[in-house]
Amino acid sequence: MAEHITGLHVLGRNERLPERAPAARGSNRHRWDWRNGLASRALFQRLGSTARSGEVEAITAARPVKAARAKKKLEASWNNRTLINTFKLEFAMPILFTIQRNGREFRARADGGAAFFVGNQTSYSDKSSGTDFEGLYNVPSQALPRLLYDAAAQRGAHGFWADLIAPTARCEGNNFLTLNTYDRARFTWGFGQFAAHVPDGDFVRYFRDILQRTEVPEYFPNLAVRNGRIVKLSRDLEIPLETASDTRGLMDYLNPTNSAIEDAEVIAAAKLIHWSTQIPAMRDLQVAHMVATFRRLMKESDSRLGLDGRSAAICAVVCDIRHQGRAKYAAMLQALAQPDPLAALLKLGAIAYGTRIKTLRRALTDAEAIFAGKVWNRAQGDFK
């Protein structure tokens, strides 16, 4: 959504536009340079005395306007006041998300548009901790758009890594819009199931990057990255939401509790779903982060398991095990020492995660031709 601002500010008798704004106006917040049309909203708001709420008056030069600037509409002088010209400004405005609930199903509207599916209410009990969780999940559901990961479409950008992540993506549902807010991670997102509870983990890194994108003022106007960390902007304060050891602030922002579905949780989910649906680069960013995660997993796993020369299929299973966390290095080392290491790796966690492993096995079979002959090369840090 955009806020259109067209206006005119006529300078008063004793009012003078600054050439060097900070010193002249006594405030560092008011940046303005008449030569380049650089202008701050704050200055507009301060000078635009007749502006209505949500609008500001636009100002440009207090000096005679040159002929070359004829495109800008010139306004005539008025009494003793200064000539100025006008132009139109367009500021990004936050999209207004509203929630619709129908039984266990949650939908949202963006700026009054068509309602779109966010997720269904679900709950489960963690037997080990005795904790009851409640939250949202959205796959499998016919209501969720099929925005699926396609390895072939990503090969130009990522080469073979686009194929290496594909089996795990399939295990996770393959959908860029996958959401789950009902477990201890509190907010898990995307086809890579990036989880918010890990400090400096995949979700945190991904979220930092989306906050660099130009659509941020429309989706998360009160979040920013400062000194490499996500902060919440609150008046003049910057409240840290994550550190090297803690993401509770970020989890609280996205999903305040695990015991109920809050508006904040639905809205945060709706924002990510809407943004990722509308902007293809948001989906590409998920892919880039999944590839980065797998590059990291390969490097770490190689140093612990000695994967140099191992097949891409074996490496894909190792990465999937690490990504899901279903076995430890000791168990993987034992599996790798077996006559058929691929089969042995696929048995790890088979009782608890049988369905996932079946999907993984099928994905590897489907990718056989692409994986054939590819082996991990430690020296190059890549497959060859």
């Binding site: 060097r20 950008a157 890194r205 003022p217 880039a288």
Partner: protein, 209 residues
Amino acid sequence: MSMSITDKLIEIAQAEWQRWGYSTKGLAGGGSKIAGIESKLPYVAYVNDYWRAVNQPTWNGNTPQPWSAAFISFCFKQAGAGAHFPYNQGHAGYCSAFIRKPNAYPGLSLVDPISAAPSVGDLVLAARSGGECVKPPSNYADALAKLQDGGWFCSHVDIVVAVRDRQIDVIGGNVANSVTMSTLAAQQDGTLSDPRFSWLGVIRNTIVR
């Protein structure tokens, strides 16, 4: 005999990067290591060096103006671009100048990043947002139209210093409050694909001196 300024431009950019302590930003999901910070000594004065290139001798690392375009102007000035570069304190300012006056600046042109792969010595232009920014254009065509009209929007520009398989190294000012070398993702054909940014153009630099 006229010579391209590219080698000198890269040399200047790398020297500045060294002066700031080799700040780096990796690919998406990779880490970053930021050394010199604009508000600390001696870096606060280094920013003043850049502002002087666009006739703002009182501004420095502690004044609030974004200084990435001043950094670009400084590098071109030091590289000997002379009157072939329209030094300006805003990226939109110098882009608009060379687009509107192609005869005055024949060594600079804006091309579509979807089809044009950046080369060493070129510049890459991306949109930028912020609380004080007007809504930036979302693609090359919109940006070109706006710049042809003399319009202004928040943006960022880096200098391409190295090109590899699917990766481009760039150096820019005011990146994480430092002079930083960033690694960007590219397609196999060399075109920009880094999804962290909204790419508006590749500025072809064929300036000779």
